[in-house]
Symmetry: C2
Subunit: 140 residues, 2 copies
DNA sequence: ATACAATAGTTTGATATCAAACAATTACTC
DNA sequence: GAGTAATTGTTTGATATCAAACTATTGTAT
């Protein structure tokens, strides 16, 4: 497990990005949320109302994780849940007004993250990076 | 937080690599260990006896995390701890014979990880990847 | 219609991890 | 030498996360 290992780097970047996001969320008055919460909010901002399983797919997290994440967002008043009209197994998740009001903040944070991560990285290299990382992701 | 986001990919790869490592450790009869344990073992294989703070630096984890990780390795018999001869604050960590016997397994796992992650990725692209990821890492 | 399989989401248990606070030891300043 | 700052590692608290097991509901086969 050599420190120069790409996988090691990926782990460190992951941690740092998450810490950055957590700090930024706090700066925007959205304290107590983790990056994953932010991801859910982002999905809801984009897609409106979704099922829990869809959240699982969109942010690629375990079902039970989604339950916990959503419950916290509900508790904080950002998200609401209702039963599907046709299938009683299905819960549908959507933003509350309070949640929707976070849009500017979420967008700002997203922009800052990109700015921070990609400083001094050319557009072309971003594309290369994305391509290579996608390959690695698919290798697992 | 767009799913196409590089940072998102990094997070997923991190998780998958860790899961892969965990599974491989188990396959090699080294169950109950996490990738970070493996990293510590790797460091000790390479460097012999080190201080706790050195472990913190080598694998870039929080001091308290190192304490927990090392304690588990001690409990499992892979690692031993002794006080420094000159400074009573310092603990020195080294492999036990049992720990040292894991070397072939650790090496094998490391090789498998690389093989898995870098399948279909040229040597040149690995260098590019490392360079770009290092930049991103330094940006945070 | 009944029985079983599949699905949706929850509950439960475990854990690596960070950060803050802390105690003991050593280093440094006067 | 005394007092304070710095260092080392531990303790404590919190948490996102996964995975297994589970319950309720719906789908499918007979």
């Amino acid at each position: 497990m050599n420190k120069d290992h790409i996988i090691f780097l990926i782990g460190r970047i992951n941690y740092k990005a998450n810490r950055f996001l957590r700090d930024e969320l706090e700066k925007h008055g959205i304290a107590g949320l983790a990056p994953s919460h932010g991801e859910i909010l982002g999905v809801l901002l984009m897609r409106g109302e979704v099922q829990m399983t869809q959240l699982t797919e969109y942010i690629d997290k375990d079902k039970s994780t989604i339950t916990a994440l959503v419950n916290k967002l509900i508790w904080l008043g950002y998200v609401k849940k209702r039963k599907d009209d046709d299938d009683n197994r299905i819960s549908r998740i959507a933003l509350t007004e309070k949640g929707a009001s976070l849009k500017p903040g979420i967008m700002d944070i997203s922009r800052k993250l990109r700015k921070k991560a990609y400083e001094n990285i050319r557009e072309r290299d971003k594309k290369i990076l994305y391509t290579l990382l996608s390959k690695i992701n698919m290798n697992f």
